[in-house]
C-alpha cells in the first residue's frame, strides 16, 4: 500500500494534516492573535519572533495564515460534504433508476451547469452577507451538479456489472443492492474526487475572499491576505508570498492525494507503468555466410524486458527469401509471427532489444540508423496489416494517404502523384479510382480498405511485401479475392512476399515455403508442399489437424490442440511444446531440440521424436494412426496416450484450447 501510493502522497497527506492541526489548535499556539496590531514592527521581514514577518499593521503573518486556514479548510471540507450529501443520493438514483428519474435529474443538472456560477455566487454572497456559513452553502450547492454527474457515472458502470445484474435477477431488493453492491464501490472514486473537490473549493473560496466576498475582516482568510498583501508588494513582498505559498502547497496536496487515490483504483493506470528499457547489450549472433539472395534473416532475436521478466518474443529465427517467392509464417496467436515481421522492419517498441541480422540484397539492415532505415521502408519493403479498419488514418482522405509515399520517397509532384495513385488503385481492382481519392476511410467497406492498404504498400514498387494476416479480418469471399490479388501482383512485379497467417488453407494454396513458429522459435520449416504432406514436428501435425476441410463430414468434430501456448516469461528448458505434446518423453524436458534437417528438400524440424516421414493423412479422425508414439514411453509431463480428448470431444479439453485453434474452428463454420 505504502509503496504504491508513493512518497509524494505521504508528504501531501502530512502537509494537509499539519495545516489542519495548526488550524484546530491555533488558539493554543505560541504566537500573537491574528488581530493583534503592532505585535512587531510593521512590515518587518521574517525573524525569530515572527517566522513569516509582520504586515502593514505590525500583525504576525504566521498567525494570520494559520487562522486563515480555519476558513479555507472549514469551507473546503464543509462544502464538499454538503455537495456530496446532496449530489451522491441524486447521482446514485439517476445512475441506478435510469429512465424517468435519470431524465429529470440530468435535465435540471444541465440547466444548473449552463447558469453562470459566478453570478450566482457573487449575488448570493453580496446580498445575503459574507459569513462562513453562507460561503460554505453557496460553494457546496454550486458543487452539486458536478457531484451528481460523477456519482451517476460511477453508479452506471457498476449497475451494469455482473454482480449487480446477478443480484437483480435473483430478486434482491433494490435497497439491499444499493447498499451492499453499489455504495461500497462508488465510495472509492467518490473519496478521491472529494480531495480534488476540496482543492477546487479552497481555490473558489480564495477567489471570493480575494474579491472581498468571503468571511469579512478582521477574521483573516487566505484570499483576503493575498489581496491585502499585494498593496505592500513593493516594500514587503513576504506579506503576500507567505499566504500564497501556503495556499499553493495546500491545493497541491489535496490534488495529489486525490490523484493518487484515483490512480490506485484505476486498473489501467496502475497496471501499465511505462517500462524502462534495460541497458541490455545487443544480442550477439553466430558468424554466418551472407548469401546472394533478396532477403536473408539470420538468427533474429527480439527480447522484451517486462516487469515480470525477460520475454523472448522472437528467439533465433533464420530464413532466406528470393524474388518471386512467397514465404508463409504460421503459428498460433502469440507465437511471435507478427513480432518477427516488426523485428525485421525495425518497428519495435522502445522496451525491446533486437539481435541478429537482416540482409536486404546483402546490406545489413540492423546496422542502419533510423534515417537510413526510412529510405528502405516503404520504398523497398512494403507492409500490409491484418485489420483494414485500423490500418488507414480516419481523418485523412484516401488520396492524401496513397500519394504520400509517392511524394515523400519518389519526390513526385502533386499532379503526378495523383495520376499514379489512380493507376495504383485501379491495379488493385478499385472501381472509379479518381473519385475514391476524395473519400475518407469510413466511407469504404473492409475489402475496399484492404485493397487501398495494399495499393499503398505497393506504391513505391517494393522488392518484398510483408503481409501480416492480410485477410483475417475480412469476409470469406473477400479473403479469396484479396489473396488472388496479392498473388497476381507478386507475379506482375516479381516481388517476394512474406505472408503471415494462422489459416493453413491460405498458406497451403499460395506459399512456396513455410515456417512454423512456436514460442518465438522456428519449429519446422521447408517447402510448403513437403511440410503439409509430411509434417515432422507434432505441433505442425496438430495445427493441420485443427484446420477444417471442405472434405470433412458434416458433423465432423474439429480437433483442437489441448492446452495453451506457453508463457514466454521464464520459459522452462527443453522443448517449449512438450507440455502439450502427446509424444513427449524425458529428453524433451531437459534438452531443447535443435533444427534437424533431412531429405533433399531441406525439410527442417525441431523435435527429438519426429513423426514418421511416410505420407500421412492429415485431418484423419482415426486415432490409431498416432498410437505408435507410446511404445515404451515414460513421459512424466503428459499422458503418453495420444490425445484421447481431441476425438472424444468432451467439453473439458475444448474449453482450454489455445486461441488459434479455437479461432480456426469458429472461422471454419
Amino acid at each position: 500500500m505504502r509503496r504504491r501510493l508513493g512518497l509524494g502522497f505521504w508528504l501531501a497527506a502530512s502537509w494537509i494534516g499539519l495545516v489542519l492541526l495548526a488550524a484546530l489548535l491555533a488558539d493554543l499556539l505560541p504566537f500573537p492573535r491574528y488581530d493583534e496590531t503592532l505585535a512587531g514592527p510593521p512590515q518587518s521581514g521574517p525573524s525569530a519572533a515572527h517566522p513569516l514577518g509582520t504586515d502593514g499593521l505590525g500583525r504576525d503573518v504566521l498567525s494570520r495564515v494559520v487562522y486563515g486556514a480555519r476558513v479555507s479548510l472549514g469551507v473546503g471540507i464543509g462544502a464538499v460534504l454538503l455537495g456530496l450529501g446532496i449530489g451522491a443520493p441524486l447521482g446514485i438514483l439517476a445512475g441506478y433508476r435510469r429512465k424517468a428519474a435519470d431524465a429529470v435529474i440530468m435535465a435540471v443538472n444541465d440547466v444548473a451547469q449552463a447558469f453562470p456560477a459566478l453570478v450566482f455566487a457573487l449575488a448570493v454572497v453580496a446580498f445575503a452577507g459574507a459569513s462562513l456559513r453562507n460561503v460554505l452553502i453557496v460553494l457546496g450547492v454550486l458543487g452539486v451538479p458536478s457531484w451528481v454527474r460523477l456519482i451517476r457515472g460511477a453508479t452506471l458502470t457498476f449497475a451494469e456489472r455482473e454482480f449487480v445484474l446477478a443480484a437483480r435477477v435473483l430478486g434482491t431488493r433494490d435497497r439491499r443492492i444499493l447498499w451492499r453492491e453499489i455504495v461500497p464501490n462508488v465510495a472509492v472514486p467518490a473519496a478521491s474526487y472529494a480531495f480534488i473537490g476540496m482543492a477546487v473549493v479552497v481555490v473558489a473560496e480564495g477567489s471570493l475572499a480575494f474579491l472581498g466576498l468571503s468571511v469579512q475582516a478582521p477574521q483573516p482568510t487566505w484570499g483576503g491576505l493575498i489581496n491585502e498583501g499585494r498593496t505592500l508588494m513593493e516594500t514587503a513582498p513576504h506579506v503576500v508570498l507567505a499566504p500564497s505559498v501556503v495556499m499553493f502547497l495546500t491545493v497541491l496536496s489535496f490534488n495529489l492525494v486525490g490523484d493518487r487515490l484515483r490512480a490506485m483504483t484505476d486498473v489501467r493506470e496502475s497496471g501499465l507503468e511505462p517500462v524502462r528499457p534495460a541497458a541490455a547489450p545487443a544480442l550477439p549472433a553466430a558468424p554466418h555466410p551472407v548469401h546472394d539472395v533478396l532477403l536473408q534473416v539470420e538468427e533474429l532475436r527480439t527480447h522484451f524486458t517486462t516487469p515480470r521478466g525477460l520475454v523472448k518474443a522472437v528467439d533465433g529465427v533464420s530464413f532466406t527469401l528470393e524474388r518471386g517467392k512467397t514465404l508463409a509464417i504460421v503459428g498460433e496467436s502469440g507465437s511471435g509471427k507478427s513480432m518477427l515481421i516488426r523485428s525485421i522492419l525495425g518497428l519495435l517498441p522502445g522496451t525491446s532489444v533486437r539481435g541478429g541480422h537482416v540482409y536486404l540484397s546483402g546490406d545489413d539492415l540492423t546496422a542502419y540508423g533510423p534515417a537510413e532505415m526510412r529510405s528502405v521502408l516503404g520504398l523497398r519493403l512494403g507492409t500490409v496489416f491484418q485489420d483494414p479498419m485500423t490500418a488507414l488514418n480516419p481523418v485523412r482522405t484516401i488520396g492524401a494517404q496513397v500519394t504520400e509515399p509517392l511524394r515523400v520517397h519518389l519526390r513526385m509532384g502533386r499532379r503526378e502523384a495523383r495520376a499514379e495513385a489512380v493507376r495504383l488503385l485501379a491495379s488493385v481492382g478499385i472501381p472509379d479510382p479518381a473519385r475514391m481519392l476524395r473519400r475518407y476511410p469510413h466511407q469504404l467497406s473492409g475489402g475496399m480498405r484492404q485493397r487501398v492498404t495494399i495499393a499503398m504498400a505497393l506504391s513505391c514498387r517494393p522488392d518484398v511485401l510483408f503481409a501480416d494476416e492480410p485477410t483475417t479480418a475480412l469476409d470469406v469471399t473477400i479473403q479469396d479475392q484479396v489473396l488472388r490479388l496479392l498473388h497476381r501482383l507478386r507475379e506482375e512485379r516479381d516481388m517476394a512476399v512474406v505472408l503471415v497467417s494462422h489459416d493453413l488453407s491460405v498458406v497451403a494454396r499460395w506459399a512456396d515455403e513455410v515456417i512454423v513458429m512456436y514460442a518465438g522459435k522456428v519449429v519446422e520449416r521447408g517447402p510448403a508442399r513437403e511440410v503439409f504432406a509430411r509434417p515432422r514436428m507434432p505441433y505442425t501435425e496438430a495445427l493441420l489437424q485443427a484446420a477444417p476441410r471442405l472434405t470433412d463430414p458434416v458433423h465432423h468434430r474439429l480437433r483442437v490442440i489441448p492446452g495453451r501456448p506457453p508463457d514466454l516469461v521464464d520459459l522452462p528448458p527443453g522443448c517449449p511444446f512438450r507440455a502439450r505434446c502427446p509424444y513427449a518423453r524425458d529428453r524433451c524436458a531437459t534438452e531443447p531440440p535443435p533444427l534437424f534437417e533431412d531429405g533433399p528438400q531441406h525439410h527442417q524440424y525441431a523435435c527429438w521424436f519426429p513423426r514418421d516421414p511416410a505420407p500421412a493423412e492429415p485431418g484423419s479422425t482415426n486415432d490409431t494412426a498416432h498410437t505408435r508414439a507410446d511404445t515404451g514411453s515414460t513421459s512424466d509431463t503428459t499422458p503418453t496416450r495420444p490425445r484421447p480428448e481431441s476425438t472424444s470431444g468432451g467439453a473439458g479439453p475444448e474449453t482450454v484450447t489455445g486461441d488459434a485453434a479455437s479461432g480456426v474452428e469458429s472461422r471454419g463454420r
Binding site: L118, V119, A126, F127, F210, T390, V395, H409, Y440
Partner: protein, 312 residues
C-alpha cells in the same frame, strides 16, 4: 436545419438563464433605490423614483418589458448611471475578448509543441517534467500566480506595468504590454490542461495500427506526429478549449481585478455591488450567448477535424 436548431437552443437557454438571474437578483435584499437615494430618503421620494424607474411594476412585467427591449437590441438603461447598458457592454467586451484570445494563443502555442514532444518520448525526462509542471500549475490559484508574476515582472524587473489598460485603438504597443501579463497568468493554467490532454490522446493515437504502418512506409517521426497523429488526437483538446472559452467570458473577473482591467467580469461584479440589475442582466446575456456560440463553433471545428462527424 442545424442553424435553426441551434438558434432555437440559444433562445431557450437565453430565456431560462436570464429569467432565473432576473428573479434571483430581485429576490435578494437591497435595491437600486436605496443605492441611489441613500438610507435617509423619504418614503415619497423613494416611491417616486420607483415609479420613474418602473420598479413599481410586478416582476414578470418588468422581465417581459426588458426581454422585449432585448429583442430589438436594447439592453435597457442602467438604474444607477442612467446610461444605456448596451454601450457600457460594448466598451467592456473588447477588453475581455482580447484577454481571452491572447491567453488562448499563449496556452495553445505552448501546449501543442510541448504536448507533442512529451508524447513522442513518453515516460522520458521531458514528459515527466511536463507532468510535474502541469500538476503544479493546476494547483496554483490564478490570483496567486498573478501576484507572483506581478512581483517578478512588474515590481522586481519592471518590464511591464503591474496594472492598467491601454485600448488597442489608442496605442498597439502599450496595449500589448498591458495585456501580456494578465494573458500569461490566465494562459498558464490552460496550458497545463491542454498539454496534458493532448499528450494523453497522442500517446493513445500513436499505438494505432495506422501509425505503425506510417512508420513502415518510412515516414519521418516529425511528419507522423504532426500530419498523421495530431489531428485524430485533437478532439478532447477542442472540447476543453470550447468549455474554457464558454466559462471564461464572465469568469475573468479575478484577473481583471488583479490587473485593473475594465472588462466584462469586473463590470458584472461592480454592478452587483451597486444593485445595477440591468447591467448584470446584460452581462448574463453576453455570457449565455457566448456559451452557445462557442459550443456551435466547437461543433463546426469537430467536423473540420474529423470527417467521421460530418455525416450528421
Amino acid at each position: 436545419m442545424i442553424v435553426v436548431h441551434r438558434l432555437a437552443r440559444l433562445l431557450v437557454v437565453l430565456v431560462v438563464v436570464t429569467f432565473l438571474s432576473f428573479v434571483l437578483l430581485n429576490l435578494l435584499p437591497g435595491d437600486p433605490v436605496t443605492q441611489i437615494l441613500g438610507l435617509s430618503a423619504t418614503e415619497e421620494a423613494r416611491a417616486q423614483l420607483r415609479r420613474e424607474l418602473g420598479l413599481d411594476q410586478p416582476l414578470l412585467v418588468r422581465y417581459l418589458d426588458w426581454l422585449g427591449g432585448l429583442a430589438t437590441g436594447d439592453f435597457g438603461t442602467s438604474y444607477i448611471t442612467r446610461m444605456p447598458v448596451g454601450a457600457e457592454l460594448a466598451e467592456r467586451l473588447p477588453v475581455t475578448l482580447e484577454l481571452l484570445i491572447a491567453a488562448q494563443l499563449i496556452a495553445l502555442g505552448l501546449a501543442v509543441p510541448v504536448g507533442v514532444a512529451a508524447a513522442r518520448r513518453a515516460g522520458r525526462a521531458l514528459d515527466q517534467a511536463l507532468t510535474a509542471l502541469s500538476f503544479a500549475l493546476l494547483s496554483t490559484p490564478v490570483f496567486v500566480l498573478g501576484v507572483v508574476l506581478i512581483l517578478l515582472f512588474a515590481v522586481t524587473w519592471q518590464v511591464v506595468p503591474a496594472t492598467g489598460w491601454t485600448p488597442i485603438t489608442l496605442d498597439l504597443g502599450w496595449n500589448l504590454t498591458s495585456v501580456i501579463l494578465p494573458a500569461v497568468t490566465l494562459g498558464c493554467g490552460q496550458f497545463a490542461v491542454y498539454a496534458r490532454l493532448l499528450r494523453t490522446d497522442l500517446i493513445a493515437t500513436l499505438q494505432e495500427d495506422y501509425i505503425t504502418l506510417a512508420r513502415a512506409r518510412g515516414l519521418s517521426p516529425r511528419r507522423i506526429l504532426w500530419r498523421h497523429a495530431l489531428r485524430p488526437s485533437a478532439i478532447t483538446l477542442i472540447t476543453a478549449i470550447g468549455l474554457n472559452l464558454g466559462a471564461l467570458i464572465g469568469g475573468t473577473v479575478i484577473i481583471e481585478t488583479l490587473f485593473g482591467l475594465p472588462g466584462i467580469g469586473r463590470l458584472i461584479v461592480d454592478s452587483i455591488f451597486s444593485r445595477d440589475y440591468l447591467t448584470v442582466q446584460g452581462g448574463v446575456v453576453l455570457i449565455s450567448v457566448g456559451y452557445v456560440v462557442v459550443n456551435f463553433a466547437v461543433d463546426l471545428v469537430y467536423a473540420a477535424v474529423d470527417p467521421r462527424i460530418r455525416r450528421a
